[in-house]
């Protein structure tokens, strides 16, 4: 059975089902209990599973993430909510220096099976520091997995997979898509494997790599390019940002010979650069044009009156595709 859910509903359902199935699962975060989370991702879960499993913590991200590490090492499966990605920084040290390294330092003796969920990205007219897309900080951290779904189906399946993963997973939820659309989501539990990208639409002429909220821009640009110019774009949703799905990336580029990467993060040292490198390493001779990056600019994500100018638009993606095609 399936029914139509928004992404936020799919996320809630994933946590609900894991809480029901596995007594080790605990949710921790600010305002996630009686308030149900600032985006209502944990709505109703405290009432259902009790305040000692769905825990309103003090306002302290280092405290939340650090204690979640201890909980995870001692047999629990903590699922942490950080209210916005830009509020994660007090907990950054805990993530980078501890969560990501515990297995390595103890040569596998201890592990940290935890999930950190957090909304990210611009486009919601949010106040300052509510719109960042800094996935690179984390994709640069060996020991972490970084996941970013673009639709309700993947969100549920990836979150369940994340909660069952033996390593710490940063689960990035595109704020703009929380309630943007509904789609069929199976009622039962299922997994979308971490580390697997998805070819969303097939094409022969150019590959567009995107994730999270940028998928919509990518798909729309692909549609327009086909309508206006007849070129067929292959759109690949990376879904997992670390580790990258090398096979899917490379086989698509070998087929199309052209590629662009779209992300809302800043361009310099953004994940696009890594993808370009990977293509250079593995498929250089197949390329008919340099791989293009269409990204957020190298400036702080600005106040919302100009955020639309900061974000890659369909127009900019289209332009990037055509530049690649007409190289």
């Amino acid at each position: 059975m399936s029914r139509k859910l928004t992404m936020i509903q799919a996320i809630t359902e994933a946590m609900d089902q894991k809480l029901a199935q596995d007594p080790r699962v605990m949710l921790l975060g600010e305002d996630i209990g009686i308030n149900g989370g600032v985006f209502r991702a944990t709505e109703g879960l405290m009432e259902k599973y009790g305040a000692d499993r769905v825990v309103d913590t003090p306002l302290a991200e280092a405290g939340i993430i650090g204690s979640a590490i201890g909980l995870a090492m001692n047999g629990m499966i903590p699922v942490v909510e950080i209210q916005f990605l830009a509020f994660i920084y007090p907990g950054f040290e805990q993530i980078v220096s501890h969560a990501a390294r515990m297995r390595y330092r103890t040569r596998g003796q201890f592990e940290v099976p935890m999930v950190i969920r957090t909304p990210y990205g611009a486009g919601i007219r949010g106040p300052e520091l509510h719109s960042e897309s800094v996935e690179s900080y984390f994709a640069h951290t060996p020991g972490l997995r970084v996941v970013a779904p673009s639709n309700p189906y993947d969100a549920k399946g990836l979150l369940i997979a994340a909660m069952e993963d033996r390593d710490p997973v940063l689960f990035l939820e595109p704020t703009r898509l929380y309630r943007a659309f509904k789609e069929e989501v199976p009622e039962e539990m299922y997994r979308v494997p971490i580390g697997k990208a998805k070819v969303v639409s097939e094409g022969e002429d150019v590959t567009i790599f995107a994730w999270g909220a940028m998928l919509r821009e990518a798909l729309q640009a692909a549609k327009r390019i086909e309508q206006e110019h007849g070129w067929k774009c292959e759109v690949v949703d990376l879904r997992t940002l670390y580790p990258l799905d090398r096979d899917t990336i490379i086989s698509s580029v070998k087929k199309t010979g052209r590629a662009i990467v779209v992300h809302e993060a800043h361009r310099t040292a953004g994940l696009g650069a890594e993808i370009v490198s990977l293509i250079n390493d593995e498929a250089l001779v197949y390329l008919k044009a340099p791989v293009k990056r269409v990204t957020g600019f190298d400036i702080p994500v600005p106040q919302f009156s100009v955020e639309d100018a900061y974000l890659p638009t369909v127009e900019r993606v289209q332009h990037g595709i055509m530049e690649t095609i007409s190289f």
Binding site: A86, I299, V306
Partner: protein, 372 residues
């Protein structure tokens, strides 16, 4: 050490069981201690006038958000005495580090109303303060600005300036590491920093008793051997006196002070929040309005003194509404942020990548990009 007043009065028992709290002006508008030599009638009127102005501004802002003329907004109604009283106790050159809920303090310290409108309208120029002022942009992350107020005060001290720094924060902030680091640094380096906590009882939805096992926030000062003062945050006299004392102590070289002002936000955390989800909003908000409002008690006192009447209030209301409307007009008529401008001020000198991206953005903005 705790600094206690002779006029401690148990109150607001639902926030904490600990009754030790400085109160000077009672809820009924009675003076519980002499304020002679500290607060004269001119200042009393000024306090009232400022609270009235910022309350009108706050209500206007909530309405503007509802009308879609402003983005998400963080209202402060109910906390006027804490913000206005503390800001009035500062000298014009003192450094101020407000949070996103402290526009009242910023206004009193010299921030212009239209800037605050611009800020919440998402304009890139909403955080500029008037020339010569030291009003920092509203701090969005929690407690992180507190350490900055240590640094600015430290520099003032090193330069031999008689300038204090004040950091505003809420009860939730006291759980963050930066809160403790700030208190400790300020204690070690004896900086003239005032840590001004508005304990409004809730960090969004989490009540203080769940935030901490400490009964009070002021008692945290003891751990760092700095003075901790607990005041009725809806009593503008108590707030003013406590902050004034703290500034003087700091400028005498005696170091920082932690002040906990007990107050309540009548409304939501922000316009995106629904307080009915987590508290008995109607009852609480009504109770505080009726029994503990920061303006009502001062109004009563001023009336008893014969320096306030309804006619004066009406006159003020008219003037202030006009003033607010003028600033709103200025904000709404302010040149729309040019996307190209968002590339400015990232660095003192623009590096090549940003310059190129600015050009790229300009060409899209001016629609002169031709698809090949």
């Amino acid at each position: 050490m705790m600094v206690y007043s002779e006029n401690l009065k148990p109150s607001f028992d639902e926030i904490t069981e600990s009754p030790d709290m400085l109160q000077v002006l009672s809820e009924q508008g009675d003076l519980l201690a002499s304020v002679e030599g500290k607060i004269n009638e001119t200042l009393m009127l000024q306090m009232y006038e400022k609270m009235l102005l910022v309350r009108l501004f706050d209500r206007k802002s909530v309405n503007l958000q509802r009308q879609g003329r402003m983005g998400t907004y963080a209202p402060f109604e109910g906390q006027e005495a804490s913000q206005v009283g503390s800001a009035l106790a500062l000298a014009p050159e003192d450094w101020m580090f407000p949070t996103y809920r402290d526009h009242a303090a910023a206004i009193v310290h010299g921030q212009e109303l239209f800037r605050i409108f611009l800020y919440w309208m998402g304009h890139v120029e909403g955080s500029i303060c008037p020339e010569g002022k030291r009003i920092m942009p509203p701090c969005v992350p929690i407690a992180t600005q507190m350490v900055h107020a240590v640094g600015t005060a430290w520099a003032s001290k090193r330069k031999g300036e008689k300038t204090a720094s004040i950091a505003y924060f809420g009860d939730g902030a006291t759980s963050e590491g930066d809160f403790h680091e700030a208190l400790n640094f300020a204690g070690v380096f004896k900086t003239p920093t005032i840590f001004f906590c508005q304990n409004n009882g809730y960090a969004i939805s989490v009540p203080f008793e769940k935030q901490s096992a400490s009964k009070t926030i002021a008692q945290r000062a003891a751990a760092y051997d700095i003075p901790g003062v607990r005041v009725d945050g809806n009593d503008i006299f108590a707030v003013y006196i406590a902050v004034k004392d703290a500034v003087e102590r700091g400028l005498r070289g005696e170091g920082p002070t932690l002040i906990e002002a007990i107050t309540f936000r009548y409304g939501a955390h922000t316009t995106a929040d629904d307080p009915k989800k987590y508290r008995d909003q109607e009852r609480l908000s009504q109770e505080w309005r009726e029994k503990r409002d920061p303006m009502a008690r001062l109004q009563t006192l001023l009336q008893k003194k014969g320096i306030w009447n309804e006619k004066l209030e009406e006159q003020w209301l008219m003037q202030m509404n006009e003033q607010i409307d003028l600033h709103l007009e200025k904000a709404e008529g302010y040149p729309k942020a040019d996307p190209v401008g968002m590339f400015e001020h990232v660095y003192a000198e623009m590096p090549w990548n940003i310059r190129e991206q600015q050009e790229e953005c300009r060409s899209f903005f001016q629609k002169d990009v031709r698809l090949p």
